[in-house]
């Protein structure tokens, strides 16, 4: 389940957008995001143009629209939390729409880039841009072990479910805390083993 949420399911599919150079996609995404963040919400020309570009990209990329919406729903709470705070302040009530609109544009852009570009290619672009090697290694490792960690938590969830005999009446904070603690311990132990494995092959 969690693997579903973190995976880039469509990054290896075929479409005109997938074939575009990763540099170009990352560059355009950066311009779109920066522009969107800096423009006032009243800049209808900008938002119209960006909206058109995004819709065109979605059509050309042949990504399922339902998949995009689901992704957006998964990522939105983080940003909308901030927007919600704004909504309850009378002075900035109008800002709510602006934050929601801007976040949606940025998220859709990121979702489009990450699902039409294999992760390795994004890393190579960063490498060519002379992003520090240590940072790239960290990002690459994070991406690699996200899946392992997701699998592990899924296995733990199943194992717990198989020994849960009474349907839960309420959300079990205690169990959740235990699972998170376990995951943390396992992740840090794995980190040590990975470091050993890296050293064994000459990492300095």
């Amino acid at each position: 389940m969690i693997t579903n949420l973190v995976g880039h399911h469509h990054s290896h599919a075929e479409s005109p957008v997938h074939r575009l150079a990763a540099e170009l996609k990352l560059g355009v995404a950066l311009v779109v995001i920066l522009g969107t963040v800096l423009m006032p919400a009243t800049a209808t020309n900008w938002f119209g143009a960006v909206g058109g570009l995004l819709v065109l990209t979605i059509i050309l990329s042949r990504l399922p629209v339902l998949f995009l919406l689901k992704r957006l729903a998964v990522l939105s709470p983080f940003v909308l939390g901030v927007a919600l705070v704004n909504a309850f302040q009378p002075a900035t009530g109008a800002a709510w729409w602006s934050v929601a609109l801007k976040s949606a544009v940025c998220l859709v852009t990121v979702i489009l880039v990450s699902n039409t570009t294999p992760f390795g290619k994004i890393l190579r672009v960063l490498q060519r841009l002379r992003v520090p090697g240590l940072l790239i290694t960290t990002i690459a490792l994070m991406h690699r072990y996200l899946f392992v960690l997701a699998d592990e938590s899924e296995r733990m969830r199943r194992a717990r479910a198989s020994r849960t005999f009474v349907p839960a009446r309420r959300f079990h904070w205690h169990t959740l805390a235990t699972v998170l603690g376990q995951l943390f311990v396992r992740a840090s132990e794995r980190a040590e083993r990975i470091y050993d494995a890296m050293c064994a092959r000459g990492w300095k």
Binding site: R144, F147, I194, A197, M198, A200
Partner: protein, 249 residues
């Protein structure tokens, strides 16, 4: 000729006080293939980590472990790790790069070899482990057997003279196990294989070392040790099935 591995009175205690190794001594001649047997928690993995210099945390000048006659010291670690290839128990720990080709190239790249040479080594070792054409596959999408073979390719790409393997056939299906054993047989390096797969020990390793409670309790011909039922049962092992029947062929 110098021994590939020489361990003299090796002791190790973990931070929590567990005595993992209490005076282990043995030597492996070049080209030998030796099985390291023993129950869970007997100290096998701890011993293997020492051979690559991952343990102890601080190396002393007169260390207990020598590789080709050289003591494992902090200054010599890079050279030692180049000579000793270590295959870890969990392939997911060892495959930390996004793609197969990058992972296999990781070791050689650390040693400062040219990119052309690295690419050639990647192709050669992937073909050697039967995974030619897997270069751009994502490591997390491979089957367990494939992961294990990519790990081996990553170690072989460093061209080690000594190969140290931690339970290489655990979690493999019978076919995976058969193929992996055939692969190991083809590799000319000195091999030390920690395993619970006693049949593999019989098939691949003429000599076996039995470790229990951090001490070597037996060192000798695999057939003899594994045939000694009392010894096997006393140390959490058993006489493998293939030694029960004496077929005429």
């Amino acid at each position: 000729m110098k021994n590939s591995i020489e361990v003299t009175n090796l002791k190790y205690r973990y931070h929590d006080g567990t005595e993992a190794l209490r005076g282990v001594s043995f030597a492996l001649a070049p080209g030998e293939c030796v099985a390291l047997l023993g129950p869970n928690g007997s100290g096998k993995s701890t011993l293997l980590l020492h051979l690559n210099g991952l343990l102890p945390e601080k190396h002393s000048a007169n260390g207990a472990v020598r590789i080709h006659g050289e003591p494992v010291t902090t200054e010599k670690l890079a050279a030692i790790r180049r000579q000793v290839g270590l295959l870890f128990q969990d392939p997911d720990d060892q495959l930390f790069c996004p793609t197969v080709a990058e992972d296999v190239a990781f070791g050689p790249r650390q040693f400062g070899i040219s990119e052309n040479e690295i690419a050639a080594r990647v192709q050669k070792t992937l073909a050697q482990v039967g995974l030619a054409g897997f270069d751009h596959r994502a490591t997390h999408h491979l089957s367990h057997g494939e992961k294990r073979r990519v790990c081996l390719a990553g170690v072989l790409a460093c061209e080690p003279a000594v190969l140290v393997l931690d339970e290489p056939t655990s979690d493999l299906d019978p076919r995976g196990r058969r193929e992996f054993k055939a692969l190991l047989r083809e590799i000319p390096a000195t091999k030390l294989i920690a395993t619970h797969d006693l049949e593999m020990a019989v098939e691949l390793c003429p000599r076996a070392i039995v470790l229990d409670h951090g001490q070597i309790v037996a060192d000798g011909r695999t057939m003899q040790l594994l045939g000694d039922e009392a010894l096997m049962l006393a140390h959490g092992l058993e006489k493998p099935h293939i030694l029960w029947h004496h077929h005429p062929h």
